[in-house]
Symmetry: C2
């Protein structure tokens, strides 16, 4: 693909990627550093950048380049899979973006900045009312966006979901998640009634600096490159791959419990390893991007759960942990293994164990469909959350902070994001099973050497960027399409001691 | 001023200010957080933003707006001092920017990002050779810029100096600084041979968190608004007013000496108070900006020196400091006063006392004129620095880190910046003398209540933005033009106990 049209698209892609990285820094900074009074101006900056990029991308000449390059691709470029994938994604984005008025993308960017700040305050005070007007606004703007894409009512959710998981639909994802939920219910019942490790045995003071030092060692050892990344502190742990060589993780610290920040780092470092492993030679092209959130989440859950909650991991790391935290000295790796694999119904998604985690997602998936299709009165979100939560989990919700305000996503206008967490769990179990079926990967895994596992993911997932669509990528990497089977088998082994 | 032309300029100004703030965040982030491998891409982002803003500002229609608005101002708008000042500055910038090719501003932005990173590494290793190619490049680009403005040889320095101190020339500044230097030489000789406070009496361990907590209390008490600002850690302390409500200070910590970070914070908080006090209603207009570095520096030196090194300050703050740092318990305020006013010839500018400080500036002022006019062989910078330093200070320079690599400025291509520090010292002494001539300000100052002093600066300096040019602003605020007199009188009082 050598045409001027295609090369113009590549140039535009690089330019927009530069600006995307700037937006990512502005967003990261808001969550980690920005002083409170700086929020409104940050909103204006963000709206300007988003609006400018929108205008740049939706020019008619970009449409001409696309048409010309598609023509070229269909004829002389037929063998170029990367160009074909780039054109597939550019076309998809162009057809979507050109339907949106600039005013809408600017309003959405501004509303997100303001809503995120209001959410943080509302969560701190545990008061949904402070967040409600921002929530309404984001829902309205999201519906308006979907309507501009010709989707209203139930169909609106599908087009939003596609932003995070290309090619997915609520019906298809719903089927997969319902299948998973039905298999989980008896497993949860059995696992949560077993005797649990007494967390009192981990009681102690874990100074933040010591936790940070330990987490850094662990992240470094699994392959996270600190010359091209960092770890900072934020209310809501996240990972931002804001430039080809600048991937930032955040975590949060609890001085009574070192596991909270550690698992935050393992999870986010999983995202970070994916970002750091993307094909740099395609940076600025759609193929150079991560393919979907369901695949992204497979990488984070892999390191958090399959690695971090495994026995070999603790055989390797407990002695080192005990050097940082002397109160762990009397414990065995099996104790830590038991401590990090306690099945328990609880309120907070990000702290949930692997067995109950997907029930948290099922709740959000149902609710956000009702939010978007209008069947839920938005003012009743806290009540509806609490009712459904109690019916699924058997626990009353004491306040909004442990209820519908616990997650940041809706404050960023991200409706359709949550189900990708469960897809990530399925994908993780599926990919890990395939990787461990190779004796060299498996043998190393058993002695907590994760270099072969990372190499496997690098080659089959990270370096593939977005050449394939997510389902096809996972199927190709693992040799078969993802299903609930490997995850359920993994959970039965880990939580019920089967097989 | 109601014309479409003038309002178009206001709109453009707001847009460019948004982007300026984005650039400021990118620059701040590079110094405080950016991982090393992220530097090249950051350079590309910065170059893009700078290039875009340049193109936007230099469009011919902006020239048309300017001409039309100037016409309007000369007739119906004659009484509007703010509009007149805006047009004065816009015209100056437009005539300058339109002379520069976009390629040059982009290259300069990229070169700065790369040079700043190379400088940090060169300084760490104390090896000028690592920095030399970047230094050459920035000098070349600076000369090229000056040449585009019609200035070569000796005249080139003037047009660069004007970037930091509007209206200043090397000849005029040179006269002022030489007058100051001649008065300082005997004062330095006398002050540095007096008996000095034994710093061993402050020996102890000062944990970073305690220093940070104490510094924050002090900064808050003098009026720095932490809802619209922060303090972070950086190799080179600086202040960035990156948005109307987002002013960030940095400092650096030495656990053996709490005074280093404290005076860093007092100095940068002085800059920050100026930024926080600028007229928000004019944000995005030239009049809403700080007027010059010589005035900016007057505000930082005021809080660092006139306040922070005064006896009343230590009467007020020593007891609190001793709560954070118990080893100070046996000391009297007079001891701290003596400790922070030790006159001593030393290597590092930012740690120099008030008496010897301007000698450091004189050295840099001479050198950077020779750098720009070509009379200094750039490869010989370290040697020339060391020779001149030894002749002025009587001390040999052991390595580049304590020599020509100690300051960040040249690595950011800022030639013409240094003399504004001495102008700042003159302005600070002049403004403080005028403020303290008011009994209410003076009485409060004597009991370490600085609210009246800040109010005086707010009204006469901060809120005036850039309506007047710097010299006129200081003269109007103090009732007479600045001169060396008040600074020398202040130093004689403080260091020789006169008057």
């Amino acid at each position: 693909m050598q045409s001027v049209a295609y090369r113009s698209l590549l140039g535009l892609g690089e330019e927009l990627a530069l600006l995307n990285g700037v937006q990512a820094l502005l967003g990261w900074d808001q969550e980690v550093l920005l002083p409170s009074k700086g929020v409104p101006y940050r909103g204006r900056q963000m709206a300007w950048l988003v609006g400018w990029a929108h205008e740049r991308f939706t020019r008619p000449e970009v449409g001409d380049w696309l048409a010309e390059a598609e023509e070229e691709q269909a004829t002389v470029g037929a063998g170029d899979a990367v160009a074909a994938a780039n054109l597939r994604e550019w076309r998809h984005r162009y057809d979507r973006e050109t339907c949106l008025p600039k005013r809408l993308v600017e309003d959405f960017a501004l509303a997100r900045v303001e809503a995120k700040a209001a959410w943080a305050e509302a969560r701190r005070r545990s008061d949904f009312a402070l967040f409600a007007p921002h929530f309404h606004r984001l829902v309205d703007l999201s519906r308006e966006k979907a309507a501009a894409w010709g989707a209203t009512g139930g169909a609106a959710y599908d087009v939003l979901l596609d932003l995070y998981e290309r090619g997915a639909t609520a019906a298809r994802v719903g089927e997969v998640l319902e299948d998973l939920r039905l298999r989980l219910v008896p497993l949860v019942e059995e696992a949560t009634t077993r005797e649990r490790f007494d967390l009192g045995r981990l009681a102690g003071h874990y100074p933040v600096e010591k936790q940070a030092a330990f987490n850094r060692e662990v992240a470094e050892s699994i392959g996270f490159d600190f010359e091209a990344g960092r770890i900072d502190t934020a209310v809501h742990p996240f990972c931002s791959g804001m430039a080809p060589e600048d991937t930032r993780l955040t975590t949060r610290y609890d001085e009574a419990n070192f596991l909270s920040s550690l698992f935050g780092v393992l999870h986010e470092a999983g995202h970070g390893l994916y970002e750091q492993g993307l094909p740099k030679e395609w940076h600025g092209q759609p193929t150079g991007d991560s393919v979907s959130l369901g695949v992204h989440e497979s990488q984070s859950r892999l390191w958090e759960n399959h690695v971090g909650r495994s026995l070999p991991f603790w055989v390797r790391w407990l002695p080192r942990a005990a050097e940082h935290f002397p109160n762990l000295a009397g414990l065995a790796p099996e104790d830590l293994y038991a401590a990090v694999n306690r099945a328990e119904l609880s309120h907070i998604r990000v702290e949930a164990d692997e067995v109950t985690y997907d029930l948290h997602i099922a709740l959000r998936f149902e609710l956000e469909q009702a939010i978007i299709d209008g069947s839920l009165d938005l003012n009743d979100l806290p009540g509806e959350w609490n009712r459904r939560f109690e019916s699924y989990f058997g626990l009353p919700v004491k306040n909004d902070a442990e209820g519908c305000l616990q997650d940041i996503h809706w404050s960023m206008g991200m409706f359709g994001y949550f189900p990708t967490y469960s897809l990530g769990n399925l994908n993780a179990a599926h990919l890990v099973a395939a990787a461990l079926s190779e004796p060299a990967v498996s043998a190393a895994f058993d002695v907590a050497d994760y270099a072969p596992l990372l190499a496997w993911m690098r080659e089959r997932i990270h370096r593939r960027g977005s050449v394939l669509l997510p389902e096809a990528l996972v199927a190709e990497a693992a040799g078969s399409p993802a299903s609930a089977e490997p995850l359920v088998a993994h959970l039965r082994r880990r939580y019920l001691g089967e097989g």
